[in-house]
Symmetry: C2
């Protein structure tokens, strides 16, 4: 066997699909518990990670806060309100004119942040030859080297 379709997995994914507020893991827990009252937070995290690995959701790390989850996979960016934590979808945030448009709609954009993630030349090189691409392995390496001397 490999990869079961459990009630908890289905309920978590359904809750995320139904959500329009980019919920946190704990918000999802509350919603899943309406159907399955005994679900634990650990299970929600495990299933969210499973869905992420399957490419069925995106994890949003916006600022220092909690992770937010999004099952809408079409290309879009996000606006995070530092006041109340609301997350709004934004189309084409990289394009010029977005700032003006949001301002016209009442938003106050304090920072527009572009974060590029991937592999630096050195790591890209070793990926080709070694086991760096295996996920568990990669994570270990991140842990080891993330904070050198």
């Amino acid at each position: 066997m490999r990869e079961r379709t459990t009630q908890q997995l289905v309920a978590t994914y359904d809750a995320l699909i139904a959500a329009c507020d980019h919920p946190t893991a704990e918000q999802l827990l509350k919603r899943v518990r309406r159907q399955l009252p005994r679900v634990s937070l650990g299970t929600v995290y495990r299933n969210l990670e499973k869905l992420r690995a399957q490419g069925r959701l995106r994890v949003l790390h916006l600022g220092r806060g909690v992770a937010r989850y999004d099952a809408v996979l079409t290309n879009h960016d996000h606006f995070f309100c530092e006041g109340c934590g609301v997350v709004a979808d934004v189309e084409g945030a990289g394009a010029s004119g977005t700032f003006a448009r949001l301002s016209g709609e009442g938003y106050v954009v304090r920072t527009a942040r572009v974060s590029l993630l991937g592999l630096c030349p050195s790591c890209a090189r070793s990926t080709r030859t070694s086991s760096l691409s295996r996920r568990s392995n990669r994570r270990r390496i991140v842990r080891e080297r993330r904070r050198p001397g």
Copy 2:
């Protein structure tokens, strides 16, 4: 009195200015301790927050990892290597052509993320009338509302 220039604050800022690797708080602790061996991690965090409030540094939250600190305030973006954790400066990441340029330099860009942060219309409205703009207040409100029912 208000806002003292302590050895710990100066040493922390100096260490960050001297750094070219976008260090974490713990990396900064190690470097500050070369001069002041008894400095604690709590003090480093407190002083980093003080410097941030003064606008003398930027905090980088790149993915799920630790916060990285940057005293270079000129407009630039960052590339975060998911392999080794290296952070590289990138000029004009929002502009077209950046992706191709980085690829030519050996980088593998897996995700380009634009995060907009600020205030949503509702919070922007209440800022004008209430005490939301007072920092301690704002943080409390974020805590309260970040994860609604």
